[in-house]
C-alpha cells in the first residue's frame, strides 16, 4: 500500500482505496494532473476545491464514467481498472450524487437494486428476497417510508436515503457523497450526519464533497484540497482552520467579511400586499425601498422562490396586489414584470437562467431583445454595445462575446445571466440564490456587485439560504417559514440565532 501519509488515521483504519498519479485531459482542458491520495476505512475525507478544480472529474473516474489518461487506482491494495460504472460498483464504490439521479416511476426497492437485482436459479428476478433486503436496509438507517412507495412520492431527503440504502445494498466499502446536503433542510442534514456517523462506525470510507465549511468541519476527519486539477494540500481537519482551507482552495487569501456599503435608502419602490396562492405561500406582504437590499431567508422549501416567481408572473396568484412607485400593476406574465421594471434571476442557472447553446451576446439581450430592434430587424451592433458594457462591468471572463455559454464556468455563466437581467433595465431586481454552486472567487465578485447595484439606486431582493450572505448584505431580512412570513428584522437588531430560530422554530411546535 501507498504509505504517503505520515499522520496516523484517527480511527486507525487501513487503506481501502488509493489513487496514484491520476491525470485526465479533455480537449483544451487539463482536468486532473497527477493526483494521489488514499481513503481509509472508518474515515470521512472531505474533497474540497472551487468549481472546476477537478472534484467531479475524480468522482467520475471513481464511478467508472471517465477512464483516467494516466495513473492507477487500487482497491485494498489490488490495482483495478474501471471501464464502466458496473466495474466501479463491483469494486465496492458507490456514489450519492448532487441531484438525486434515480427513477421516479419505479418503487424504492427497485431503485435500491437497479443494476444488481438478485436473481433466483432460473435467472428471474427474486422479488421476495429483494423486498426483504430492502426492508432490512431501510430499517438500518431508520427510514420512515415503505419499500413499495414510488420514488416520486418521496421528498428530496428521503430520496437521498434511498441512495444511501442503495450503497449499503451492495455493502460498498467506499461511499462518495457529492454535495449531499445541497437541497436538504437543517433537520434533514442532521439526519444525514447521523447516518454518516453510522457508516463510519461500520468501517466504510466516505468521500464528502461540500461547499459549506461548517459541514466539513462537523463531519470530516481528513481533507484533500484540489485547485486547477492538482492536489494542493491534504491533512487532518482537526489541524486546519477555515481561512487556511479557503486560501488553499483559491490560492490567495479571500476576504470573507462582506463589506456592507453605506447606501442612502430612498422612497418605497415596491409594495406587495396579501400575495397568496393555493398551496405554496400565503399573505406575503412587504415593502422595498430604493437602494435597499431586502434579504429573504428560510429553509429550503419555505416557499420563498415560489412567492418570488409568482411576483414575477411565472405562476398565477390567487390574491394579492403589487404596487410599483405608487401605482398598482397587474403582472400576469414575466413579460409584464419585465415591462414594469422587475427582473428575476432564477435559482436554477442551467434550467431557468441560461440558454447554454446560445452565445454570450444572445443570452445577455434575450430578456430585452425589443430594445435592439431597428426598423423591424435586430441590430447586432446595438446588441454588442450592451453586451460589451455589461460584460465588462460584471467581469465576464471569456474569449469572445459569441462564445457559447456551455463553454463557460458556472461563475461566468451566472455573471452572464445577471447581465441579462440588468440589460432589461430593472427598478427592482430579485436574486434567487445568486451564489449557489459557484466558486469562492466568483461568489465574492457577485456579492460586491449586489452592493454596487443597490448603490446605483436599484431595489434588491436577495433570496438566500446562506446566513452569512444574508446577514452580510441585507438591510432588512424577511424570514419565511412554511409559506408565510414569520418575522422581519433589521440590521443592527438581528442575530444569527434569532433569524435561524424564526426560520425553524415553529416547525417543531406545529
Amino acid at each position: 500500500m501507498n504509505p504517503s501519509h505520515e499522520n496516523p488515521p484517527p480511527n486507525g483504519g487501513g487503506t481501502v482505496l488509493s489513487l496514484g498519479g491520476l491525470s485526465k485531459s479533455f480537449p483544451g482542458v487539463r482536468a486532473l494532473r497527477d493526483v494521489s491520495f488514499d481513503l481509509k476505512a472508518g474515515e470521512v475525507t472531505a474533497l474540497i476545491g472551487e468549481n472546476g478544480a477537478g472534484k467531479s472529474t475524480i468522482v467520475k473516474i471513481l464511478t467508472g464514467i471517465y477512464v483516467p489518461d494516466e495513473g492507477q487506482i487500487a482497491v485494498n491494495g489490488k490495482p483495478v481498472r474501471f471501464s464502466s460504472p458496473r466495474d466501479s460498483w463491483g469494486a465496492g464504490i458507490a456514489a450519492i450524487h448532487q441531484e438525486t439521479v434515480m427513477f421516479d416511476e419505479l418503487n424504492v426497492t427497485e431503485n435500491i437494486f437497479m443494476g444488481h437485482m438478485p436473481v433466483s436459479g432460473t435467472k428471474l428476478v427474486d422479488w421476495q428476497q429483494m423486498r426483504r433486503r430492502a426492508t432490512e436496509l431501510l430499517k438500518r438507517i431508520d427510514a420512515d417510508f415503505s419499500p413499495d412507495a414510488k420514488l416520486k412520492q418521496l421528498s428530496v431527503a428521503q430520496k437521498h436515503m434511498v441512495e444511501i440504502t442503495r450503497a449499503l445494498s451492495h455493502d460498498a466499502s467506499v461511499i462518495i457523497m457529492d454535495e449531499p446536503t445541497a437541497a436538504l433542510s437543517r433537520h434533514e442534514i442532521d439526519d444525514l450526519f447521523r447516518i454518516v456517523a453510522q457508516l463510519k462506525s461500520e468501517g466504510r470510507a466516505i468521500v464528502f464533497i461540500s461547499h459549506k465549511f461548517d459541514e466539513i468541519f462537523h463531519v470530516a476527519d481528513r481533507f484533500v484540497c484540489l485547485r486547477d486539477g492538482e492536489k494542493v494540500g491534504e491533512g487532518l481537519i482537526a489541524e486546519v482552520t477555515e481561512p487556511k482551507l479557503v486560501s488553499l482552495m483559491v490560492g490567495r487569501p479571500i476576504d470573507q467579511v462582506f463589506p456592507k456599503r453605506d447606501i442612502a435608502i430612498g422612497e418605497t419602490v415596491l409594495k406587495v400586499e396579501g400575495l397568496s396562492n393555493a398551496t405554496e405561500f400565503a399573505d406575503i406582504a412587504f415593502e422595498l425601498r430604493r437602494g435597499e437590499i431586502l434579504g429573504f431567508y428560510g429553509l429550503v422549501g419555505a416557499g420563498r422562490s415560489e412567492a418570488m416567481q409568482c411576483l414575477f408572473g411565472m405562476t398565477p396568484a390567487l390574491t394579492g396586489s403589487v404596487t410599483l412607485h405608487g401605482q398598482k400593476v397587474t403582472i400576469a406574465s414575466p413579460a409584464d414584470a419585465i415591462a414594469a421594471g422587475i427582473s428575476y434571476v432564477p435559482e436554477d442557472r442551467q434550467q431557468q437562467g441560461a440558454v447554454l447553446p446560445f452565445g454570450i451576446r444572445e443570452n445577455v439581450t434575450l430578456a430585452s431583445i425589443s430594445q435592439h430592434v431597428k426598423n423591424w430587424f435586430l441590430s447586432k451592433p446595438s446588441e454588442l454595445d450592451t453586451v460589451r458594457k455589461l460584460g465588462t462591468r460584471l467581469d465576464v471572463r471569456a474569449a469572445h462575446w459569441e462564445q457559447t455559454l456551455g463553454e463557460l464556468s458556472g461563475g461566468n455563466q451566472q455573471k452572464v445571466v445577471i447581465a441579462k437581467w440588468l440589460a432589461a433595465k430593472p427598478k427592482v431586481i430579485i436574486l434567487d440564490e445568486p451564489t449557489k454552486g459557484i466558486d469562492v472567487g466568483s461568489k465574492a465578485a457577485v456579492h460586491d456587485f449586489i452592493g454596487e447595484l443597490a448603490e446605483e439606486g436599484l431595489a434588491v431582493i436577495l433570496v438566500s439560504s446562506e446566513l452569512p450572505e444574508i446577514m452580510g448584505l441585507s438591510d432588512r431580512v424577511v424570514v419565511m417559514q412554511e409559506g408565510r412570513i414569520v418575522s422581519v428584522m433589521s440590521r443592527g437588531s438581528w442575530s444569527a440565532e434569532a433569524i435561524v430560530s424564526a426560520a425553524t422554530g415553529a416547525r417543531k411546535a406545529a
Binding site: V101, F103, V125
Partner: protein, 330 residues
C-alpha cells in the same frame, strides 16, 4: 375518480366493459360468444405490434418502421412459399422472423451505435423497407392461390375457438410480461427510459438496451408479417400501410408514456383491444367504416388528455393547511 385514474388499467378495462355493454344493447349480436372470439382474433396482430412498440417507447424511442417491416417480412415469407410451397410452416415463420430481426438490427444499430434519433432513423427505414418490397418482388404481388396450403392454413388453425394468431399473441404477451417484470434487463428498460443518466450510473448500458428493443420489435413485426399475409392471403407493397400509427395509438390509449419509462403489458393489450372493438363494432352498429378513422382519432385524443391529467404533477404543498388538506383527502 382520482383513485380510478391512478389505476389506469382498471379504468380502461371498465371503459371497455361499458363500451361492450353499450354496443351490446344496441346490437346484441356483438356480444355473442362467437363474435367476441372473432374480435380477439382480429385484434391479435395489432396487440403484438403494440407490445413491440411499447418496449421501444419505454426506452424513449419510437419505431415508425414497424408496419413497413411487417410488409417486407411478409412479402419475403410469401415468396418463399410461392417458390417452395411444401416446406413445414415453421420455415415460413422463421424466415419472416429472421427478416424482421435483421431489419430491427438495422434500426437498432443506427440508433445505438451512431446515436441518430429514433424518429429520424425509423422515418427513413419506414420508406426504405416498404420500397424494398418493390425492389425485391419487382412490383408483383403474391396472391393466395400462389402461396400453398401449408402457408395459408396455419392461421386458420383453431384451438379452443381461438385462432393460432391469438395463441401466438398470448405467448408473446406472457413472454414480454415475464421479460419486463422478472428479468434484470426488463427492469433496466424502465430505468433507461425513466432516467438515462441515472441508469448509466447504475451500470446499465443504454446502447445495448436500444439494440435489444429494436431487434425484439423487429422480430415481432416480422412474425406479424407472416401472420398478416397468410391470414389475408395477399402480399404486396401496400399492406398495413400507415398501420404504425394505429399501433402507436394503441400504446397511447394503453397508458404508455411517449416520454419513456412508463407502460405495462396489460395496459397495452387493453389499448389494442379498445381499438379492435371500435373497428369491429362499426359494421355491427351499421355505421359506415368511413367513421373508423375519425373515431379512433377522437379516442386517441381523449386518451392522451385523460392520461396527462392523471400524470400531472401537483404543485408543491408548503402551507401547513394545504398539507393537512392533502393528507385528509387521501
Amino acid at each position: 375518480m382520482s383513485a380510478l385514474l391512478k389505476h389506469r388499467e382498471l379504468a380502461l378495462a371498465i371503459i371497455i366493459a361499458l363500451m361492450i355493454a353499450g354496443i351490446g344493447t344496441y346490437a346484441p349480436a356483438f356480444v355473442s360468444f362467437g363474435n367476441i372470439l372473432r374480435v380477439l382474433n382480429d385484434t391479435s396482430i395489432l396487440a403484438m405490434l403494440a407490445l413491440a412498440q411499447m418496449i421501444v417507447i419505454l426506452t424513449r424511442g419510437i419505431d415508425l418502421s414497424t408496419a413497413s417491416n411487417l410488409a417486407l417480412s411478409g412479402m419475403i415469407s410469401a415468396s418463399l412459399a410461392q417458390n417452395s410451397p411444401d416446406l413445414p410452416v415453421i420455415a415460413y415463420i422463421a424466415v419472416a422472423l429472421a427478416t424482421g430481426m435483421l431489419l430491427g438490427l438495422i434500426n437498432g444499430s443506427l440508433i445505438s451505435i451512431l446515436g441518430i434519433p429514433p424518429i429520424v432513423v425509423t422515418l427513413g427505414t419506414l420508406a426504405i423497407f416498404r420500397g424494398l418490397i418493390v425492389v425485391y418482388g419487382g412490383g408483383n404481388q403474391v396472391n393466395a392461390s400462389e402461396m400453398g396450403d401449408v402457408f395459408q392454413n396455419f392461421p386458420k388453425l383453431n384451438i379452443f375457438g381461438l385462432s393460432s394468431i391469438f395463441w401466438i399473441m398470448a405467448g408473446v404477451a406472457i413472454a414480454i410480461w415475464l421479460f419486463l417484470n422478472m428479468t434484470r434487463t426488463g427492469r433496466a428498460l424502465y430505468a433507461v427510459g425513466g432516467n438515462p443518466v441515472a441508469a448509466r450510473y447504475c451500470g446499465i448500458d443504454l446502447g445495448r438496451q436500444q439494440l435489444l428493443v429494436y431487434v425484439l420489435a423487429g422480430a415481432i413485426s416480422g412474425v406479424c408479417g407472416y401472420l398478416w399475409v397468410s391470414r389475408y392471403g395477399v402480399a404486396y407493397s401496400e399492406i398495413a400501410s400507415g398501420f404504425e400509427l394505429t399501433v402507436i395509438a394503441a400504446c397511447v390509449i394503453g397508458g404508455v408514456s411517449i416520454a419513456g419509462g412508463v407502460g405495462s403489458v396489460t395496459g397495452t393489450l387493453l389499448g389494442a383491444l379498445f381499438l379492435g372493438i371500435i373497428v369491429n363494432a362499426l359494421p355491427v352498429m351499421q355505421i359506415t367504416p368511413f367513421w373508423q378513422m375519425a373515431i379512433s382519432g377522437a379516442v386517441i385524443l381523449a386518451a392522451v388528455v385523460v392520461n396527462a391529467r392523471a400524470e400531472k404533477r401537483g404543485v408543491k404543498l408548503i402551507l401547513p393547511e394545504a398539507r393537512r388538506a392533502a393528507a385528509g383527502a387521501q
